[in-house]
């Protein structure tokens, strides 16, 4: 059996952390620069700043225009992509291992010497406008965005990372420059490389190209709070008369990633709604009742408490029944806990699936980024299976009682009101909700 490749760490002379994994299966390198601040630091009236900043970094440096950069990178068969996320902003550069030196140099150029070209910003804004207008045609996208805004009531995590149509005009190039100057600092960043390259060579290349970078700062304080105010539990309806199905989102506040109950809650949620056909929600809502093609529950593991959300869709006439049944499943798991067999199967799934989840450089890099973001320790992957195996049935039952709150569920339905409102009103009061 192939041994698990170790995560190696180095600190560059400017304080930037470098995490690397030597990967031998294909001649590839996945590089990623991560700034440990993301869309949660967007100014409240300017959603999209972190994500647009990331995008603009890829649209020209002080040495090369957007087209030159794209041509040179794609001539290597490589791909450059940047995005804002919650708690962090990422610049990825993936390519063939034979080009490692050039790739590291290129990533450093993009991160350290962006040109913030005026013309590219204007074009970016128009592209985003088009994308956001189009998003209204995607019921799933509409529901996800509307739920975040409804649930968080304007707190961080309560807007769309990629920006919002109603607040597009508020964003200017200066906002992006200011955000970059504040948040991009070596002390709050991590460079990750998973690839067919010996670690000492990687350290040398990283030191050569990133070592002199000082960045700006001081970075915003890291957001770790639970919001002061959330949506009142109940049923909210966003009317879309042309839809044949309803999109349903039901959620309440979850936990921060560093919560001591992380492992019991992961196992609990696998059993509740993340384990595909092994999950209670899938069994009831799809296999037994045939109400949907798919349903899942997710705890968003972030630096501050993220949402716990159940997502599904169902032909319009089934909407009220689905909402009622979902809530009942959550209540059952909370009251009666899970069985020993369910727990054993959830544990052996995660333990057995472990090597499959680390097959590709990109998947490994994702894990390493997460370890770097939340300071989970270099031995995290090595200890992952034993930690999961150590969780007891009592711990999972306690986790269900402490962290599932069916009475707090905020339910959002996006669908044709003419067909869904009356049946929903039989469950409880329905508040009409307007999309932004």
């Amino acid at each position: 059996m192939a041994a698990l490749a170790a995560i190696q760490q180095a600190t560059l002379s400017n304080g930037l952390t470098l995490l690397g994994v030597e990967y031998t299966r294909v001649p590839w390198v996945s590089l990623a620069f991560m700034c440990k601040r993301g869309a949660e630091t967007d100014p409240p009236d300017k959603p999209g700043v972190a994500d647009w900043t990331a995008e603009l970094l890829t649209l020209g440096t002080t040495r090369r225009s957007q087209l030159e950069l794209a041509r040179d990178i794609e001539a290597m068969g490589a791909a450059l992509a940047a995005r804002g996320g919650w708690d962090a902003t990422y610049v990825h550069l993936d390519g063939l291992a034979e080009d490692m030196e050039t790739l590291v140099a290129t990533l450093a150029e993009v991160v350290m010497t962006p040109a913030f070209p005026e013309a590219e910003f204007a074009l970016l804004k128009e592209r985003r406008r088009a994308e956001l207008i189009q998003a209204a045609d995607e019921p799933r996208e509409v529901a996800t965005r509307a739920f975040a805004r409804l649930f968080f009531q304007g707190a961080p995590y309560g807007h769309a990372v990629r920006g919002e149509l109603a607040r597009l005009e508020a964003l200017g190039l200066e906002d992006l420059k200011t955000w970059y100057a504040r948040e991009f600092v070596p002390q709050e960043a991590v460079l990750v490389c998973v690839g067919m390259v010996p670690f000492p060579r990687l350290v040398a290349a990283a030191e050569q190209h990133f070592g002199a970078w000082q960045g700006g700062g001081p970075a915003s304080p890291a957001w770790r709070e639970a919001p002061a105010r959330l949506a009142t539990p109940g049923i909210y309806l966003l009317d879309r008369p042309e839809l044949t199905q309803s999109e349903i989102r039901m959620g309440h506040l979850g936990l921060p990633r560093k919560h001591p109950d992380y492992f019991p809650v992961r196992l609990l949620n696998y059993i509740l709604g993340e384990g595909g056909f092994s999950s209670r929600l899938m069994t009831r809502i799809r296999s037994e009742l045939g109400l949907t093609y798919g349903i899942r529950s997710t705890f968003a593991w972030r630096r501050a408490p993220g949402p716990f959300v159940i997502s599904t869709f169902t032909p319009a006439d089934n909407t009220a029944l689905a909402v009622k049944e979902i809530r009942q499943v959550v209540e059952e798991v909370r009251e009666a806990g899970v069985t020993a067999q369910e727990l054993a199967e959830a544990q052996s799934y995660y333990i057995g699936h472990f090597p499959l989840g680390l097959e590709t450089p990109r998947a490994l890099a994702r894990q390493v980024l997460n370890i770097g973001l939340h300071d989970l320790g270099l031995d995290y992957l090595a200890r992952y299976r034993e930690r999961l195996a150590a969780v007891s049935l009592t711990e999972v039952r306690l986790a269900a009682q402490s962290h599932l709150h069916p009475e707090n569920l905020v339910t959002l339905v996006v669908g044709p009101a003419a067909r869904v409102k009356e049946p929903l009103a039989e469950i409880g009061p329905v508040t009409e909700f307007q999309a932004e």
């Binding site: 031998t24 957007q66 189009q134 390259v197 042309e242 199905q245 045939g290 093609y293």
Partner: protein
Amino acid sequence: MTAERALDPRAWNPEIAIVPFTLDNGLQLLVLPDATLPVVSVQVHYAVGSRHEAPGITGISHLFEHLMFRGTATLGPEEFSRRLQAKGGEVNAFTTRDHTSYFENLPAEHLELALSLEAERLKHLKLDEENFETERQVVISERKLRCVDSPFGLVEELLFATAYTEHPYRWPIIGWDQDLRRLTLEDCLSFFRRHYQPGEMLILVAGEAQPERVRELVERYFGDLPPGSHDSHRVVEPPQRGERRAVFKKVSQVEALFAGFHTVGLGHPDLYPLMVLAAILSQGRACRFYQEFVRPGRAAELEAEVYPPPWTSADPDLFIIRLVAAPGEPLSRLEADLWESLERLKHEGVTDLELARAKKLLRSQTVQGLAKTFYRGLMVALFHLKAGDGTLANGLLAAYEAVTAADVLRVARQYLREDNRTVVTLRPVSPEESQELGPLF
């Protein structure tokens, strides 16, 4: 291999090892031994997809794929998935126009469990009215999700229904709504008896497994199946003799256009220059479409797409161009400029830089794919099923490398002709107008 050599890209060998077997009952087995990771991908492919259906029973292959998870005499509904997932397995299936494929990617020590359960559901599938009805409703919901309520699902359906006049690629894999409602359990049972037998099967095991041991296991679990036949009937779509156009009206924020040109199937050498052509047009951000249309904000999306190997269909597929206008940009002008851009390419050809860039992008994609045991297996299996030779998967890197500028020019001129083109435009209407046009299904 020493650690140092293992980290040297020049020492890397891209070759996938393939060990073929045929059982006495005609069942074909391919083993791809690879000890890189302690995992195996077990794949059972049946040579039946939507192309083997007929009007009135469209969607039956895919609906049947769902029914294969509904249990046997000894397995409850979805217990098949649950048991394998409990060992760390990724369990799923998918239906295409040409085949239906079931797979389990899991720790190597559970190979036998996966094969025994696959045999169990093939031999003892339990189908009753109740199971069938539940799954019919699930698929109806899936159709609404993928096609009816999605921005362009029905537009793409209309493209295929217009581009193909005789070939069964005309109808969607998921089937027409009224056929899904009309199908009976008896239809499914006779479909099962006809297609789910050794003459139409390929089993593939990739990963940490000894070929002889795999053969023994497959013999043990599948060797007693009676031999079956293989249906090699092919339909040929007549050459298109002039452009076809259609309009689809729906609630939409944007105007859009889907165009399709008849090309080739998997196994035809022109596929590789067509892939290079599509990359030159629309892959990355230095490509023609991005620079001419997307970056300046005229198109929200503009993509040229060929289903890449091994996903290309067995019979001639479509080269699809998907154009979504930016808000406020008239589609008619965009369309004219799009065809003009293609004419320019057909007149002037492509530059050496464009060619080199596209080829390296395709090389990169191929290399990345080889990192996944599941995907290595799929490449070999789908080439075997659709092009008759699994070893073609090992020729991909060389095939892309061999493409010349002259090849790209030739395929652009040969396939991207107006007479060979079908165009469907999406015209936005208000919710009220949409309702006046009648129900969507």
